[in-house]
């Protein structure tokens, strides 16, 4: 096949280049991220310092993380990978790893040990959810509500989202089953530790959809992370789910009358993957960059620009104040003990198995 031949040709070329000098590194990097405030935090916390240390290097951003899985697959089939480092959520990283599109790596070899000497594999710990995934941040999907539209008793529990009598008005929920199904079961009386056992059965899925059905007419379904903050700011919805960093910016940067409802927030991870099959010289540059960009100080620095928790345990004590607002960032982190009293961790294995099945049912239910 043609792609294979091109691949072979590139590998032999890289082999030749590799023989000439093992330390050859290209000076161009294409980094893929989400755009917006998140990409800016990456630019500020580690890309700019890296470029300052290596003036010969140029880094180009591609804001394609949303379609990263599909695009990487297309690039792979065409035998022409143009990306060097791709920022994806953990579930996508697992998918890319399964498809053979992301490179497997050894944490202790590729990543720097923590500044207290802990090996990287222990410093990141359980957050390395796939052999290909290099964690950066912990974020959470949680609710924000309008303080001026909820009366004297602001919502404190996740189940207030399902309580139309106490909190009339529209809610914003994400247009996909993940998280919504868990919350629905939790508020339908299912114990937290049994949620996924129940959700694995057709009856459990029906149960969750039936619970969501009770508020279906009052829901605006969002598909982009920016939707809920906008809907909250316009007063279109009383409460809505989104990523905690987006809510932070609505509350602290735009000073809207919005507050956080941390109850039953769902932790998720975001990090890098290195595309499989990079030529030797580009791989060398990427490895050098990633080692720097995920060290203890750099991950702590990122939290100065956005309210997402650093992926390393050793970075947590170094989290300081917001770079422009000057407020302490620790209380705004999803991992802060006050905020993390009742949390979920995104169940990667469950959703990798059930995503196609439950999504079909969820979309059919939505369209009814």
């Amino acid at each position: 096949m043609r792609p294979t031949r091109i691949l072979l040709a590139t590998t032999s070329l890289t082999l030749a280049a590799g023989l000439a000098s093992a330390q050859d590194m290209t000076n161009d990097m294409t980094l893929v991220s989400w755009g917006g405030a998140y990409q800016a935090s990456q630019q500020n916390a580690y890309v700019e310092p890296y470029l300052a240390m290596h003036p010969e290097v140029t880094a180009v951003w591609d804001e394609s993380s949303n379609e990263a899985v599909a695009k990487l697959r297309a690039m792979n089939e065409a035998g022409n990978i143009t990306w060097d480092l791709v920022d994806v959520v953990a579930s996508d990283a697992i998918r890319l790893c399964d498809e053979g599109l992301a490179m497997e790596y050894d944490p202790d070899e590729l990543l720097a040990p923590g500044d207290d000497g802990t090996p990287a594999s222990e410093d990141f710990g359980d957050l390395i959810v796939s052999e290909c995934f290099i964690p950066q941040i912990v974020y959470s999907t949680t609710f924000g509500y309008r303080t001026d539209l909820v009366g004297d008793t602001p919502p404190t529990k996740i189940c207030d989202v399902f309580d139309l009598d106490a909190y009339p008005g529209k809610r914003a929920l994400e247009k996909r089953p993940i998280n919504n199904m868990e919350w629905a079961l939790l508020c339908d009386g299912v114990a937290k530790e049994e949620v996924y056992d129940v959700l694995a059965t057709p009856e459990g899925q029906e149960k969750a959809l039936a619970k969501l059905d009770t508020i279906k007419d009052s829901v605006i379904w969002w598909s982009a992370g920016a939707d809920t903050p906008q809907l909250l700011a316009d007063g279109e919805v009383v409460m809505g789910s989104t990523y905690n960093g987006r809510l932070f910016s609505v509350i602290e940067e735009q000073k809207q009358p919005v507050a956080m409802l941390w109850d039953a927030q769902v932790f998720d991870l975001d990090g890098w993957i290195i595309p499989a099959g990079l030529p030797e010289d580009r791989l060398a540059r990427v490895k050098d960059f990633v080692r720097f960009a995920t060290d203890t100080q750099r991950l702590a620095d990122q939290a100065k620009f956005i309210s997402y928790g650093p992926g390393r345990a050793s970075s947590a004590p170094l989290v300081g104040q917001h770079a422009e607002l000057g407020i302490e960032m620790a209380p705004h982190m999803p991992t802060d003990p006050n905020n993390a009293q009742n949390t979920f961790l995104y169940n990667y294995e469950f959703w990798a198995d059930y995503r196609d099945d439950i999504d079909a049912k969820f979309q059919a239910w939505l369209a009814k």
Binding site: W221, D353, R355, D356
Partner: protein, 424 residues
């Protein structure tokens, strides 16, 4: 010379028969024309037709099962899927051998994702088994059936084996069946459970809403095109800029603007409440539903209707209307019997453009469609970029393409495609 002209065939100046000479000249002309369009033809073939054909081919392609598990598929051929039992040891030995190779090539998880579209749980089953098989020794670890039962009890259930057997051929109708809310059951094609049926409904909705959008574009566009065609050139050109202005604004900006206008705390609702026409607690819901999608898409596609109408109307001489009136026709009769029939080709061209554009529209329904205003293209986008089920996405796309071609054919039969004019 005179002998030849009277008895033999007609000859050209150089002595060859005129017929042959003529056909040679024509052929040369055709070749030259072909050479002239060759660059474009090649460009279209390579960058447009070939990728689409390649993508559509994926709707039936299913080689991954046979390529990843060749021995297993062969050993499984004799197994009776209705036996209610998992197959015997030889199949498990073949599976162990196949997986051993697959793990080295890292294709077992890819197969797992593929089979997970058909059987929930296949993804983690293959990921888990790959790790375990890697530690197995093919020579000494027999019997494998117990080993696989230890890894996951699903291996000794018939479900996974039935799925592997059903999807072992190199080409499958499974994606197409899925795209019309059916599935491959033990006894051939069967309807999917009712709580998973969605695609037929989405196809119908897409067609219905595209028709409504085309209709409202005709209603709104016709008077505008008429005014443009009948104003003096200078004023018409100025107004034309207003028609074209939306073209020069980003699609996303225009769609988001409709959100600001139509939402419950939006401009229109605010004005209605201020006028006292609508109670403050009963604001109209005009966005995130079908209505919002129809409004926003009508606005976006309107220029595609106005432009062909305008260019056709421009060619209708105003003297025809005057003649009709001087012969005693009322305004309405003159318009309906004389003017309108001549403007039909413009309506035809505009309708085809708007209808075909809207049937494949994706971004506007995604933003303003909510749950009742989304199109089939939104599901295609989901399967291409999110679930990575390209086979199903391709099948849905192929059906959509077939529907459009069918409608085009019907249009040609009923209205006649010669009756469509884009101008002049």
């Amino acid at each position: 010379m005179s002998d030849q002209t009277t008895s033999g065939p007609v000859l050209a100046a150089d002595g060859t028969p005129l017929k042959r000479s003529l056909s040679r000249a024509l052929r040369r002309q055709k070749m030259r024309a072909l050479l002239l369009i060759a660059p474009l033809l090649l460009f279209v073939l390579i960058t447009f037709i070939a990728p689409i054909a390649d993508m559509l081919f994926r709707s039936v392609e299913n080689q991954i099962v046979q390529e990843t598990l060749p021995k297993t598929v062969e050993a499984l051929a004799d197994w009776d899927p209705n036996s209610g039992q998992a197959p015997d040891e030889p199949v498990f030995a073949a599976l162990a051998a196949d997986l051993k190779i697959a793990v080295q090539e890292k294709t077992h998880t890819r197969l797992g994702s593929r089979l997970n579209y058909e059987l929930t749980g296949a993804s983690s089953l293959f990921r888990k088994s790959g790790r375990a098989v890697n530690r197995m020794d093919l020579e000494t670890d027999a019997p494998f059936k117990e080993k696989f039962a230890d890894i996951d009890k699903n291996w000794v259930e018939p479900d996974i084996w039935r799925t592997i057997q059903t999807y072992s051929p190199r080409y499958t109708s499974g994606y197409f069946l899925n795209a019309i809310d059916m599935q491959k059951g033990p006894d051939g094609a069967e309807a999917r459970p009712e709580n998973q049926q969605i695609y037929i409904m989405l196809f119908k909705r897409t067609l219905f809403m595209s028709l409504v959008i085309t209709g409202s574009c005709i209603l709104l566009g016709y008077p505008v095109a008429w005014i443009l065609a009948n104003l003096p050139m200078r004023t018409a050109n100025l107004l034309m800029i207003l028609v074209l202005l939306p073209f020069w604004t980003s699609l996303l900006v225009r769609t988001s603007a409709w959100k600001v206008m139509l939402q419950q705390q939006g401009v229109i609702n605010d004005v209605l409440v201020w006028l006292g026409l609508v109670a403050d607690d009963a604001r109209l819901v005009m966005i995130n539903n079908q209505f919002g999608t129809i409004v926003a898409m009508t606005h976006i596609l309107l220029p595609f209707m106005i432009l062909p109408m305008y260019s056709v109307m421009q060619t209708i001489p105003p003297s025809y209307l005057r003649a009709a009136k001087s012969l005693g026709a009322t305004n309405w009769t003159a318009f309906w019997r004389v003017y309108f029939p001549q403007s039909v080709p413009g309506i035809g061209a505009g309708s085809i453009l708007v209808f075909i554009l809207s049937i494949g529209y994706y971004i506007t329904p995604e933003i303003v469609g909510g749950t009742t205003g989304t199109f089939i293209s939104n599901r295609i986008a989901y399967h291409i970029s999110s679930s990575l089920n390209w086979g199903l996405g391709a099948a849905l796309g192929a059906i959509l393409l077939a529907v459009v071609l069918l409608l085009y054919y019907a249009y040609d039969k009923i209205v006649g495609i010669d009756n469509v004019k884009l101008g002049g």
